[in-house]
Amino acid sequence: MPDPAGDALLDVRALDARYGDFQALFDVSISVGRREVVAIIGANGAGKSTLLKCVAGLMPARRDAIVFDGAPIGDLPAHRIVARGIALVPEGRRLFPSLSVEENLLIGGQLGRPGFWTLARIYELFPALAVRARLPSTALSGGEQQMAALGRALMANPTLLLCDEISLGLAPIVIRDIYARLPAIVAQGTSLVIVEQDIAQALAAAARVYCLQEGRVAFAGAARDATREAVAAAYFGT
């Protein structure tokens, strides 16, 4: 149930992806509109992270398989894709251990893309980071690290923010806390793609949802249409 192609911010068309001999994505098509929140769910190994990596340029793709803001970007290297306005919050946070919290945020903005998000505004969004600004990033708790990783990606002022399993390993209350900030991000004009194993949270936050199963899109629709039966069917391929 994709949006009409002309209106979409991100348009992924018939994307294939391989790790050596192993094919991880088969003919995947999704789309993300402007100021929209889209969730991608699926079991482990379904290809969710692979999809994000392809969009972010960390994995190779056909040039026209990924169209962003009208331009084909499938074959661009990752560092150019950031310049176009797509930022990825990678799985596992992956802050830079040699850098302090503040330095992690600053380096997120090193391309100097203009926009709403500045260091001061990131600190307003995540006050806990302001307190710990000078600490090494390794000294943060899991939730704080996730906020820092989000902040780092936001500093690039992306039009599209890709979030890879931001709830992984975090306590429910922390997860709710982080998800509570997402609307503020969308309000500033950024679309979100949320890859999640926490289905409830994903469906609550997103307008539309795709479910991947073994590298294929098994379900695509509005979040409110994603009943438990439909999701289970798509998730497990029954």
Binding site: L58, P77, H79, R94, F96, S98, L99, E103, I107, Q110
Partner: protein
């Protein structure tokens, strides 16, 4: 007094060794690469300065204005054209390629300049010295080299820890894949790191050439001195490298005082001693 003089000379020489080491340490820190041809690049810089001073009639220290940017450009081109392809988990390719480079540079210089010993003339500066205390005199040139070494290391520290540039180096060193996610072009960052390393090498090479005779074959020994300074001082710590260079310089000076043939041996033995007793070095930085 004689021994004080010896030790002072050793300390000053140690500064030069620390400069040899700084470029080596930088590269290893940013991209886990050890450039076996490092010493040969120092010698290459010396010969470049020789050509520049002879054709343009410049003073050696003035020739730095040309030699440093030239070597930096060579470093950038080398990294992007050749060495970037060797980076990865396997340590054999970069080691073998830089080893091959070492052989190529040495023999290329041999073909072009013959094995004759050369020296850069710095005029009055070479023999100028002043007395600091009775019987202890310090040469102006060695002092200049030491001050230059301290300045270089200070500048590198500032660069790494206080600038956006340095942030980019540290981030790329931590996690090259994620560095791309913030817009850093790994190939370019590595190229800049090598350019910086060879710029330091250029300075070290010219200072060496003014102070002592050089010929195409002395490269490997400079690599070894730099390497020993890094290990003695401790990995990951530039000030430690300065200390390591000083320890090495002093050990060599003491050895030479006891018997001229023992100079190099004394340095190596100091290194082996540190390796045996405190393998992580005298001032190791605990890396995250």
């Amino acid at each position: 007094m004689e021994w004080t003089n010896t030790i002072v000379q050793g300390v000053l020489t140690g500064g030069l060794y620390a400069m040899f080491a700084a470029g080596l340490s930088l590269i290893f820190g940013v991209m886990r690469l050890v450039n076996i041809a490092h010493g040969d690049f120092i010698v290459l810089a010396a010969y470049l300065a020789l050509v520049v001073t002879e054709t343009l009639g410049l003073d050696p220290l003035v020739s730095l204005v040309i030699v440093i940017p030239l070597m930096a450009a060579i470093g950038y081109a080398l990294q992007r054209g050749l060495l970037n392809r060797t980076l990865g988990d396997d340590l054999l390719p970069p080691l073998l390629v830089t080893f091959g480079l070492s052989v190529i540079i040495q023999n290329g210089l041999l073909e072009l300049f013959t094995a004759d010993s050369r020296r850069l003339q710095a005029g009055a500066l070479e023999v100028a010295s002043f007395e600091v205390a009775r019987g202890v005199s310090i040469g102006v040139l060695p002092l200049l080299q030491f001050v230059a070494a301290v300045a270089v290391i200070g500048a590198l520290q500032a660069l790494f820890y206080r600038t956006a540039f340095g942030r980019a180096f540290r981030a790329t060193s931590d996690d090259p894949a994620v560095a791309r996610l913030v817009g850093l072009d790994n190939a370019h960052v590595f190229g800049l790191a090598m350019a910086l390393s060879l710029a330091v090498v250029a300075l070290a090479g010219v200072l060496l050439a003014v102070r002592a005779n050089f010929d195409p074959a002395i490269g490997p020994a400079r690599l070894i001195f730099g390497f020993e300074a890094v290990i003695i001082g401790g990995l990951g710590n530039l000030w430690g490298t300065l200390a390591g260079g000083i320890v090495l310089g002093v050990a060599q000076a003491i050895g030479a005082k006891l018997d001229p043939g023992w100079q190099l041996l004394a340095g190596h033995l100091a290194f082996l001693l540190v390796l045996a007793v405190k393998p992580e070095g005298l001032f190791p930085r605990i890396r995250a």
